[in-house]
């Protein structure tokens, strides 16, 4: 089975959920690392930064918001998808303000999650190339537009 090169980190304290999700991703050609707490998640990001993090919000100890804030400070290019059982509109708005790529609610369809992971990865990897190509072609405005979100995330 050929694995896609996307480095995924799943951070969730619901052990059974995250282990099963990891297996389902594996069967679809994705390797994912798992962390069962915010603390463990941050350690794994430090040791081996992933491309995309799928992050729960409410966890004992360091919660998802703190993880998101810390990751965006140290690794602003890492894409963070929030996947939570909690979460009203206020939490969603906060997550986006802090630089989350997307906000999904449990229970979710695995194909929706995969689509989101692929998009997040594509944006992370391709944006600089797309912007460079635009700039090369003289379309500086579009190049700036493409990179704008990336820069904003760095400032967050």
């Amino acid at each position: 089975m050929t694995k896609e090169p996307i480095k995924i980190l799943l951070v969730d304290d619901e052990v059974q959920f995250v282990d099963t999700l990891k297996d389902r991703l594996y069967l679809r050609g994705f390797e994912a690392a798992v962390a069962y707490s915010g603390e463990e998640g941050l350690q794994k990001v430090k040791k081996n930064p992933p491309d995309v993090i799928v992050l729960d919000l409410r966890m004992p100890g360091i919660d998802g918001f703190e993880v998101l804030r810390a990751v965006k400070k140290t690794n602003p290019d890492v894409q963070v998808i929030i996947l939570t059982g909690h979460g009203g509109d206020a939490e969603e708005a906060s997550a986006f303000r802090m630089g989350a790529y997307s906000f999904l609610r449990k229970p979710m369809d695995i194909d929706d999650l995969l689509g989101c992971i692929r998009l997040a990865y594509r944006d992370r990897v391709e944006k600089p190339y797309v912007a460079a190509a635009m700039a090369e072609g003289g379309d500086f405005d579009t190049a700036r537009e493409v990179m704008r979100e990336k820069d904003l995330l760095k400032d967050a």
Binding site: R24, R58, M59, D63, K106, M108, I110
Partner: protein, 225 residues
């Protein structure tokens, strides 16, 4: 905190817990379905299924049963909360054992965020109290907030009892972490939990003088333990 806020907070906690149970069910069933589909396809697809994953799907069926029970327990507790909210102020009495048990289910997810475990000790028979169920839930959430604001990280067990002064709840602290002493101090200093409402006062006092593990939540009218 009023009844409406109490109800909203408990409902939010319960819905979070329910979504997690549903998410586990969905993934377990999804994995079983994935594996069955790959096996049906045969050939390389079937051979590529990691060793042990097929066996795991069988174990996952047990997990699904557990999660369905968990979801069903939450649904029952939410039903109770709905009824208690609707009849708030009109209900003359409630079974304290049942209210404590429902509270533990409703607040479980919230407790987890503070490294707290909530337990309700079963009672052989109802412990009736002339209080509104919603008011008792309010008192229990107040006790929870005291523990959480002092750092949490402790096991809290509720047991409905009737003493000669009246019905109430024995609040026992079990295993805990570094913040347990702070939780004990916070509970010991809490005294009157809710302002006296129409002659009803809830008080939290040490079970016996000097006891740092057990507290008595007195729910009688203007009474102290």
């Amino acid at each position: 905190m009023d009844r409406s806020e109490c109800s909203s907070r408990l409902l939010a906690s319960a819905m979070h817990e329910l979504r997690n149970a549903l998410a586990v069910i969905r993934e377990c069933v999804g994995l079983a379905s994935d594996v069955a589909r790959l096996q049906a396809r045969g050939g390389e697809a079937a051979r590529n299924i990691p060793k042990g994953m097929t066996a795991r799907t069988v174990q996952d069926l047990d997990e699904v049963q557990r999660q369905v029970s968990r979801a069903s327990e939450i649904a029952d507790a939410v039903d109770f909360l709905g009824e208690a909210s609707t009849s708030a102020g009109r209900s003359a009495q409630c079974d304290l054992a049942r209210v404590a048990s429902v509270f533990c289910v409703l607040a479980r997810r919230r407790a987890r965020a503070f490294h707290m475990e909530l337990l309700a000790e079963a009672s052989n028979e109802p412990v009736w109290c002339a209080r509104d169920a919603m008011d008792v839930l309010l008192d229990l959430l107040a006790v929870f907030d005291i523990c959480a604001s002092a750092g949490g990280d402790v096991q809290v067990c509720f047991k409905a009892q009737r003493r000669k002064e009246g019905p109430g709840l024995l609040v026992s602290l079990g295993a805990g972490g570094e913040t347990k002493e702070m939780v004990v101090s916070a509970l010991a200093g809490s005294g009157s939990l809710m302002p006296d409402q129409g002659g009803w006062a809830s008080r939290l006092v040490p079970w016996v003088s000097g006891d740092t593990k057990h507290f008595w939540l007195s729910l009688g009218a203007g009474q102290t333990a």
